[in-house]
Symmetry: C2
Subunit: 563 residues, 2 copies
């Protein structure tokens, strides 16, 4: 039956592998809810299941529960979800995972891949459940929680499966080897086995849990490793749903569901360090803050560590053709999900002397004012604001915005003040319009913009010239970490210089992009996410290095019989 | 000119890649000195150059020298080599390496691979120099220092280049991607760049420097990273020769020779920890003791760490057809280079009740006595002893042998006493015949055999039965580390069990092998060396994981023009 699953999903996997090789556009899923195979009914059912799940214990059917815990509050209603989850002893979960590993590791690579693809299919079936869960824990918009946290996240999961298959199929299962030793020919039959490392712990973050979790979970599972998922305590539901679906498909395929378990902690009693230092932890996949991420990276040994943290994403403006188009793209991207994405731009560097445009010179202050105006008008449009800005995940974020606004007013100029806006569908939503501050590049400003300020906070930074702009922007990436970067220039020699500089700084550069695509959109199978060359994380979605060390190779050899 | 080098070596590289994929026998080099392309003349010249190098400063033409240092003593003559080497400030070497990286990283993958293959060719040209250097620092026999430390080591280097090429060519250099956003088609041109991590530090060990150094040096260099080689202070010359040849070929190819430098330290003032914790260290390749290796692994972050340390390699005897053949293979392998190889067996587990052979039952004591007798007769044959046992690298080893012999006599039975033997060609050589001790598997014995006893020290361990034997042997591997393992059994179900158990313990298993091939012979392109599943090291020669994370991928993207 399980080999049937591989056959069933083989065309999808092969197409995914081919896309990974040539990096062209590919997706297994239509990207809007209306084209979901379950139609409007599936969407209604997902919403209904979410509503029915509130204010009661979640059925997870996972052994080792010590009790229940819950801490989730919807950013849209600001009401507790009231869902209680089994709170398990980590030692129990490690023991269960280790025990479950044996038969899973003994299964063929194709069997494991078939089961994993069946899980993908199931998660797609239930993508509306996940979307509701993400929306009401992370605060994402309805559309983003469907596409970004649903179908796009699943594509990143399939991409990880494709890489796992490529890396594992790179190893020959057997070989005949022969060599002369003196006058004797020694023919050996060699057998090579793929062996998992052991239990993997997958940390997920509060604002975008599935997008990193799926690749990590599937990369681990495909290579034979059990997975313990440790969600952020304020964003458990999306991962509880995922764990439940993983477990159900594993069990239905004849494997031990304890290959995937949920480990809950609370903000008061965090388990992160316990899990990282647990003697049975073989792999850690971490998404979260740069500060704890650095601790995880430094302390994970002997476990492997794959991390994505955060950083300061930069924009450099040198010269443009159509300034309106640039402003529109920047305003939208910096507003998208209230800049609570690891790819959201924060620091815009612009030469003091202004920039050239097709319609003449625009000075730096005017640029900032026009950007602020565009952001303001976007936030003022009730319906659009909700779809783009969405809600604020953490109650700490509005506080941070106010602090930065106050400090910004002292050392620079507040181009756009932040305030709550009225969400059209959720009047109680925790919302904030973007803050935009103009500062000089010098030390006083740098104390403010030189690190990540999480949330809808942007800086327009006036520099002496474009060389200083590029130098500062790439220094931000190298020092504070960066995943993305954005450049506007009509000068090809400057573009070339910027490409080299950002490459060295390890930030993925988008050049002169305008139009309806969010500037920070990262496409599975095509865009490499995180380079590992700066503090924003050490692992890339997805390259061979993301999967190649999750399994090991053992071998045995003996004389060929009857030779 | 440098692309010519790629064309020149392309057939060799392609053949190596093909061998890595199907793991069949392959070598770029004839394996005996008489078939070297330079003939007897090359051998004579190599010897002459070695003799001429003694008792004077070595010309390395490397900047940053602070003075000279030397600490080498030939295990064959027990006289200092008297060669002085430039002793550089590590900060200087990191600065030089970083500066050299830019143009090297900007060169194409093919250019880098071509230059690296040309270095391989040069090292083969000078393989007799290396052989002499290894012989008179490590104490290897003339043949092993030529084949094991020369041609086989170069094959492992080429294997690393083959994997580097496979991993790097896996990344598309560019792609055209397009997707609909709303009603607009967004076509993007994406460019992907391979970016090196930074300066790599390669630690080499005293007994077998080149075999791990070449793969690490070439893996780093091919992926764009500069290399600082830190040899064991008692085994500098082989690496000084290598560094010199690397530098000459790099310079001749138009690159900065400071891509490869030598960093010398002394036993009194070791630099190991300084190099591992240096802020510019991006990669550490470590070969050496398990104790320092564990420190390196735990402390290398944020640098990557690839390690091979050591362990307790085991033999399990269950049943055999031809006991004489087994005894002969074991005696030879356990004597080879006085068991100073990371693959040498140490612990032989045998059921108390004895074993079945084609000619009847042989009890455990008799097995041990016959093995001791075979070792003794091998050591007594002056000419053969020198060729097989060779010399003892460290003055500490004879001391260790005597200690173990004394303790062994108290808790077990000394089957074969160790003593110096007279080397036919080098009467002053530091030599020792193997020690073989019979012990019971219990705690008293385990205190002695449960860890690596480096040098010609073996244990015949009496167990209750073959299940206990297998359990203990695989526990040795899991707890103390192991690279190799050996099994003799005529029972296929037991063999299958052992294959699974050793696979889980991460030791490479050789089954029922007899004949002229040394049991622990590891073939480039075919045998995976070190699994990473036990404390004997975390890196495998060679798999994708050995190369895939040594470079990173950056990208830039922009709208396709005129679309």
């Amino acid at each position: 039956m399980t080999l049937d699953l591989y056959d069933k999903h083989r065309p999808s996997l092969e197409a995914a592998i081919s896309a990974c090789r040539d990096r062209r556009y590919f997706s297994l899923f239509p990207e809007t809810p209306d084209r979901h195979r379950g139609g409007a009914e599936a969407q209604a059912e997902g919403r209904a299941r979410y509503a029915a799940a509130l204010n009661r214990p979640l059925e997870l059917d996972q052994p080792g529960a010590l009790g229940l815990a819950a801490a989730e509050v919807s950013p849209y209603t600001q009401q507790p979800l009231g869902i209680e989850y089994p709170h398990a002893n980590p030692d129990t979960l490690f023991a269960l995972g280790s025990r479950a590993m044996n038969s899973w590791a003994a299964a063929s690579v194709q069997t494991r891949l078939g089961v994993c693809m069946e899980i993908v299919d199931r998660l797609y079936e239930r993508v509306f459940d996940t979307a509701q869960a993400v929306m009401h824990t992370a605060g994402q918009s309805s559309l983003m929680s469907y596409a970004g946290s649903g179908t796009n996240a699943l594509d990143r999961g399939v991409e990880a499966l494709a890489y796992a298959q490529m890396a594992m199929s790179h190893v020959a299962p057997a070989a005949r080897w022969e060599r002369q030793f003196g006058s004797t020919l020694i023919p050996l039959q060699k057998t090579y086995r793929l062996v998992p490392r052991g239990v993997a712990v997958v940390f997920t973050c509060a604002t975008f849990p599935t997008w990193n979790a799926y690749p990590a979970m599937f990369a681990n599972l495909a290579t034979g490793n059990p997975v313990i998922v440790k969600p952020h305590p304020t964003g458990v539901l999306p991962m509880a749903i995922a764990v439940r679906e993983f477990r159900e498909v594993l069990a239905a395929s004849g494997f031990d569901p304890n290959l995937v378990t949920l480990c809950l902690d609370t903000i008061e009693e965090p388990l992160g360090k316990v899990l990282v230092k647990h003697p049975q932890t073989a792999i850690v996949d971490f998404t979260g803050s740069a500060r704890f991420g650095a601790w995880v990276e430094a302390n994970a040994w002997p476990a492997l560590c794959f991390s994505e943290t955060s950083g300061v994403n930069t924009v450099v403006i040198d010269s443009v053709d159509d300034l309106d188009a640039v402003i529109k793209s920047l305003a939208t991207t910096m507003s998208l999900f209230s800049a609570q994405m690891c790819t959201s731009p924060q620091n815009i560097y612009i030469p003091k002397g202004g920039i050239t445009t097709a319609t003449g010179r625009v000075d730096a202050s005017e640029f900032g004012e026009r950007l602020a105006a565009a952001m303001k008008s976007l936030a003022a449009d009730g319906k659009r604001a909700g779809a783009i800005l969405a809600a604020i995940q953490s109650p700490g974020t509005p506080q941070l915005i106010d602090e930065v606004q106050e400090r910004g007013a002292k050392i620079g100029r507040v181009l756009l003040e932040s305030s709550a806006y009225a969400h059209a569908d959720f009047p109680q939503a925790r919302t904030r319009t973007p803050l935009l501050v103009q500062v000089d590049a010098g030390a006083a400003g740098r104390a403010l913009y030189g690190e990540e300020r999480f949330g809808p906070i942007g800086f327009v930074i006036h520099c002496d010239d474009r060389d200083v702009a590029l130098e500062q922007a790439t220094r931000d990436a190298k020092q504070a970490g960066a995943i993305t970067a954005f450049l506007y220039s009509t000068d090809e020699t400057y573009i070339e210089r910027a490409e080299r500089a950002y490459s060295a700084a390890g930030a993925q550069l988008t050049i002169n992009l305008t139009g309806p695509m969010p500037l920070n959109f990262a496409a599975a199978y095509s865009d490499y996410h995180v380079t590992g060359l700066n503090p924003a994380g050490n692992a890339t979605l997805t390259d061979l290095a993301f999967v190649a060390s999750r399994f090991r190779i053992t071998q045995s050899r003996r004389l060929v019989k009857d030779s």
